[in-house]
């Protein structure tokens, strides 16, 4: 893992040098273009969490209405009491790009995030929480009357 990360870091650094861009390296390395561009849910997960085992957890709750009229604005609240949370990510399996958003939390953060997302059609919302270096998941199904991606 470590070696791969180092390689990625070096590779993006080399890209910066080659292309002559003056963007900070961290900004290039951070936003995971491959995972955000993935059109298939399994591919998005495999790209975002390479070689990671994912365990279902009952310590994650997803607050969202089971039936949504307007898919353009779907309020979602995630709460978790898992320890040492590093990140919370939201996926929607039937959206054109299933990876919706990732939130990196510093150690002072509480296991909570709330936002509003677009959902194209009836889908599973899957939340991934990185806790103690491991990935935990929870999911809930929601019905959508009018798709929100147009």
């Amino acid at each position: 893992m470590l070696r791969r990360d180092t390689f990625k870091y070096l590779a993006s650094g080399a890209m910066v040098l080659v292309s002559g861009l003056l963007k900070p390296i961290a900004a290039l390395a951070k936003w995971n273009e491959a995972a955000f561009s993935a059109v298939d849910y399994d591919e998005a997960i495999a790209t975002y969490y390479p070689n990671q085992k994912i365990k279902e957890s009952e310590q994650i709750s997803i607050g969202v209405h089971a039936v949504v009229e307007n898919g353009a604005v779907v309020p979602i609240k995630v709460k978790t009491d898992l320890p040492n949370i590093e990140s919370i990510a939201i996926f929607v399996d039937k959206n054109p790009n299933p990876l919706i958003a990732n939130f990196d939390l510093s150690p002072s953060c509480v296991g909570f995030i709330s936002t509003r997302i677009k959902i194209q059609q009836a889908s599973n919302i899957i939340v991934m929480v990185k806790s103690d270096g491991m990935i935990f998941s929870a999911r809930t199904f929601i019905e959508v009357h009018e798709g929100g991606c147009g």
Binding site: A27, K30, W31, N32, F36, A72, V73, V74, P75, V92, N95, P96, N97, L99, I100, A101, N102, F103, D104, L105, S106, S108, C109, V110, F112, I113, S114, T115, R116, I117, K118, I119, G148, C149, G150
Partner: protein, 104 residues
Amino acid sequence: MASTIRLKTKTNDGVTTVRAIIRHPMETGFRIDSETSELVPVHYINEVIVKHNGNVVMSCDWSRAVSKNPYLSFMFKGADAGDKLELTWRDNENNSDSIETRIE
């Protein structure tokens, strides 16, 4: 120009709740403009960073599937009244905006 960001905080029992609303179209690139009948180009915030007294307390990587005029809320511990809180966003066209407030 008025800020695109509204940022509010509230502290209870040592836990600070942060709420933000950002004015942004969050265009998916799938929408057709009803006047021109052409696709509206993809335009969305992909990065949000929140700093407490200069240290990153929370950062977001977003796709175009975050709703128009994004809403964001999170909670953290260890802030005192009067501390600095700063939110910065950046979009796929490299526009950005930033706001600073004091913890309440």
